[in-house]
């Protein structure tokens, strides 16, 4: 019954028609240029292939081989600084409102004259995690942060890959086995002072519980000597977990742990287990408190991030209980939506 609006709506119709007419005219003009080209044929068009001949495939530049070096050059850095400090920060604040804890555990490294490159190893529940990490990682690491991203997901097309590289400084890696080329490249990045975010789980959680850690971060640390910072992110799974169509804004929490150093002679597997234990303890700290987590860590009884052993509805049931402890449990109650009766 919004009578006041009707005149303006009516008046906009002729304008729309004008625009449509203009569009038609433009289309006609383009057609006028293209038509002669079509008529002209090769070399104005793609050549046809003679029978029996095959065109050799050009090597794919997509996936793990996506070229991202340009994204770490000055112009891209400048663009990214604007994007991450502006829109990314705003969107993350709006969707996930992260509370950041444990930065004091990085204070000693921060104070050094030459801060070392770090490998951040967070658990992974959501695409938001990368944004949250970009916001949460403190300077001086934030401005030199590379995110290892699944090659098959982020770098499957040129546009997606370019955008990921530009805005998130994403670097393509294989989920399962880190190829020699990727790993050499990552080592080179660490050696030149770039810090990494690597999700040791290899991908987002499929069911809300964590997955076993794969050895990527431990392997790199073992090879480069870079310290691994275990990180626990709570809450993003229920904001925008895998399979959700649209995000449900809520709160999240990021807890940084003390840097872990590879010990002389320690195998990647054992170091990986240490990282997983550290993230598990941080998870306990985030959901309960520091002292509970410490005590359980000493007794080896921190609740596993991978959830209970059993399957089916009981696993889902346990997840709900688990989530109640964390930031997701504090979610603001959604405003009740009544149908608009005008």
């Amino acid at each position: 019954m919004k009578l006041n609006n009707t005149p303006s709506k009516l008046s906009s119709v002729p304008q729309l028609r004008k625009v449509a007419k203009l569009g038609d005219a433009a289309g006609a003009a383009v057609q006028a240029v293209l038509k002669p080209a079509k008529a002209l044929g090769f070399p104005y068009r793609k050549p046809s292939v003679p029978k029996g001949q095959t065109v050799p495939e050009t090597p794919s530049k997509l996936g793990a081989d996506f070229e991202t070096d340009w994204a770490r050059k000055a112009p891209a850095k400048a663009v990214r600084a604007i994007v991450t400090n502006g829109p990314v920060r705003a969107v993350i604040k709006l969707l996930a409102n992260p509370e950041i804890n444990g930065l004091d555990r990085l204070a000693d490294l921060e104070r050094l004259d030459k801060t070392p490159a770090l490998i951040f190893a967070p658990n992974h529940h959501s695409h938001l995690d990368t944004g949250v990490m970009i916001v949460a990682v403190p300077e001086p690491w934030r401005s030199k942060l590379v995110v290892a991203a699944a090659a098959d997901y982020f770098f499957d097309t040129k546009v997606k890959g370019t955008l990921a590289a530009l805005t998130l400084n994403a670097f393509p890696i294989d989920r399962e086995v880190t190829g020699r080329k990727s790993s050499d490249e990552l080592r080179r990045l660490l050696d030149t002072g770039w810090s990494l975010v690597i999700y040791p789980e290899g991908g987002r959680s499929p069911d809300g519980w964590g997955q076993d850690f794969k050895g990527g971060a431990a392997y790199l640390a073992n090879r480069t000597g870079a310290p691994v910072v275990p990180v626990f992110i709570d809450g993003t799974g229920s904001i925008y977990g895998k399979g959700m169509k649209k995000p449900k804004p809520g709160k999240s929490k990021v807890v940084f742990g003390s840097p872990l150093y590879p010990i002389e002679g320690e195998s990647t597997r054992r170091f990986n287990a240490r990282i997983e234990a550290a993230v598990t303890a941080l998870g306990d700290e985030a959901l309960t408190d520091y002292w509970t987590s410490k005590q359980r860590a000493a007794a080896g009884t921190n609740p596993k991030l991978t959830g209970p052993e059993y399957n089916g509805w009981r696993r889902q049931w346990a997840l709900a209980e688990h989530r109640k402890l964390g930031k997701a449990g504090q979610r603001r109650r959604q405003k009740r939506r009544w149908p608009d009766l005008g």
């Binding site: 804890n101 004091d104 204070a107 000693d108 408190d289 002292w291 410490k294």
Partner: protein, 529 residues
């Protein structure tokens, strides 16, 4: 390589010297030919791997079993820690206390100890605000322990929770926090900013009752404390405290003392000029000094205070030692002196000192007139070993605005002390006789101390007694730039400029008196030969 401290003889080419003036600074020209300036040693290098050093100290203590060997499941463990009066200014996070206590808790968790209490050993100081506890201990410890009632602050007036340990051969009764007294192990975590602190003083004052403190916090003891910062046997206070320590050792709980020292890198950028020698100021330092002082002159005092008290010092740990109290403290003192000791030849007629915006008793508060006295005569005057820098009957000149301003939340009894007691007498002995009991037993002060954030009712007396030796020793005390009626109320002489002050001083010490300036900030202890 940090340079040691030294004594500068002032000549005509010496630039003006930096003085604190509360929430500001001034440059003062000292007379050539008869003045000298004592510069503190430069900040020592901090430990590289602090957390590693702490862990090493816990696992390899001095004259004591390693900490894990002292821990067992089912035990009662109390961790006591120094309060907000240390360090000054507050240090960047993480604080020493957080680092040490987290390292201790690692071992405690491994040993399966559940009954752990954390107690702020504040004696009769004010209770710490939540943000101060969070700063000292870190958010993790605060969040985990406070909500469970396992982190709290000592209450010297909670008679149900105090226990008598024993009595010294001098009749001093050792009465401390009951929880600590009944623990299987007490771990004390300290920050040893000045040589006066630490050792047995940690527990016998920090966890003590008013009754227990009154045996040594009194005018007689403090007048006979002839070296608060120097040799222990010159200090009646420390002699008494060590007697109490013996009782604690013989009859009290087992103690594991952890002491830490800091370097004197106290001021963050861009205030490094405060710690520098004036002739080494760069153009940038000079610009900062000019900009800062001129801006502060126009800044409302409340804002200036907020700026200064908000400062976090970059000072870092230079040593950590753990184990048996006396052995640990001996080593701690070596580290403190290594940072602070400067050898000085002979006493002086006039001692000058700039009084800063903060003393141990007003972190995040107002440096009220009583604390100006305490800071000047109680602390800075006492920064000596062997004999005082100023000769007996000499003159002490301080610079401070000495405004008549109090923080009513932190210092309610100080206001009444200033209005009631100081109008009656400035003599420590007399005020102790006539007024101390009334203040110590006042229900309202007790209430504010126990539930608010107020210093105990008797605390202004202690602050005043702290200067008892200085008061008795000095022939005259002059405050430059102070509010005249307030300065007179303190029993001191106001002067508007340093030259006036020297002029006034000449009535006492003559025209050609020697002058020595104690160049604080940075801490220093003058080893007077």
């Amino acid at each position: 390589m940090p340079r040691p401290g030294f004594v500068l003889e002032v000549d005509r080419s010496t630039p003006s010297i930096l003085f604190w003036r509360g929430e500001n600074f001034s440059l003062e020209k000292l007379p050539a030919g008869r003045s000298r300036v004592i510069y503190p040693p430069e900040p020592l290098d901090a430990i590289k791997d602090i957390d590693g050093a702490i862990r090493h100290a816990l696992l390899n203590p001095i004259d004591q079993d390693p900490l894990p060997a002292l821990l067992f499941p089912g035990m009662k463990l109390t961790i006591a820690f120094d309060d907000v009066s240390l360090p000054l200014p507050k240090m960047e996070r993480p604080d020493n206390r957080q680092r040490v206590i987290e390292a201790v808790l690692d071992l405690v968790a491994e040993a399966g100890v559940d009954d752990v209490h954390l107690i702020a050993a504040l004696g009769l100081h004010r209770r710490m605000h939540e943000y101060e506890l969070r700063h000292a201990l870190g958010d993790r410890i605060y969040d985990a322990f406070h909500s469970r009632g396992m982190l709290y602050q000592h209450d010297a007036e909670d008679h149900d929770n105090l226990a008598v340990i024993g009595t010294t051969d001098h009749g001093e009764v050792l009465e401390i926090n009951k929880r600590a007294a009944e623990s299987d192990l007490v771990i004390y975590v300290n920050i040893n900013s000045v040589s006066m602190d630490g050792g047995w003083k940690s527990i016998t004052t920090g966890l003590a009752s008013y009754r227990c403190l009154s045996f040594h916090h009194n005018p007689e003891t403090l007048e006979n404390t002839r070296s608060l910062m120097g040799h222990r046997h010159h200090s009646a206070l420390h002699t008494s405290v060590w007697r109490l320590g013996k009782v604690l050792k013989d009859h009290g709980p087992k103690i594991f003392q952890i002491e830490t020292t800091l370097n004197t890198d106290m001021f963050p950028k861009p205030f490094e000029f405060i710690n520098k020698r004036e002739w080494e100021w760069t153009a940038k330092d000079r610009a900062t000094f000019l900009g800062t002082t001129k801006a502060l002159n126009r800044t409302p005092i409340k804002l200036a205070r907020k700026i200064f008290h908000g400062m976090e010092g970059p000072h870092q740990m230079t040593s950590v030692q753990a184990g048996e109290t006396e052995a640990v403290h001996k080593l701690t003192l070596e580290h403190v002196y290594k940072q602070q000791l400067v050898e000085v030849q002979g006493q002086t007629d006039i001692l000058t000192m700039g009084i800063p915006f903060v003393s141990p008793y007003n972190p995040d508060g107002v440096m009220n007139p009583v604390l100006v006295m305490c800071m000047g005569l109680g602390y800075l005057f006492n920064m000596y070993r062997n004999k005082p820098l100023v000769r007996e009957g000499g003159v002490i000149i301080m610079t401070h605005p000495t405004y008549r301003d109090f923080n009513p939340v932190h210092h309610p009894s100080y206001i009444d002390f200033f209005e009631q007691v100081l109008t009656d007498t400035t003599s420590p002995a007399e005020m102790s006789r006539k007024w101390e009991k009334q203040y110590a037993e006042d229900e309202w002060y007790k209430h504010l101390y126990r539930t608010g954030n107020a210093y105990h009712g008797v605390h202004p007396f202690y602050a005043w007694y702290w200067g008892a030796h200085g008061l008795q020793h000095a022939g005259k005390v002059i405050i430059v730039g102070g509010d005249a009626p307030t300065v007179r109320r303190l029993g001191f002489t106001p002067a508007s400029t340093m030259d006036d002050a020297f002029e006034i001083a000449s009535d006492v010490v003559g025209r050609n008196a020697t002058i020595t300036h104690l160049h604080v900030p940075a801490l220093l202890v003058a080893d007077v030969q």
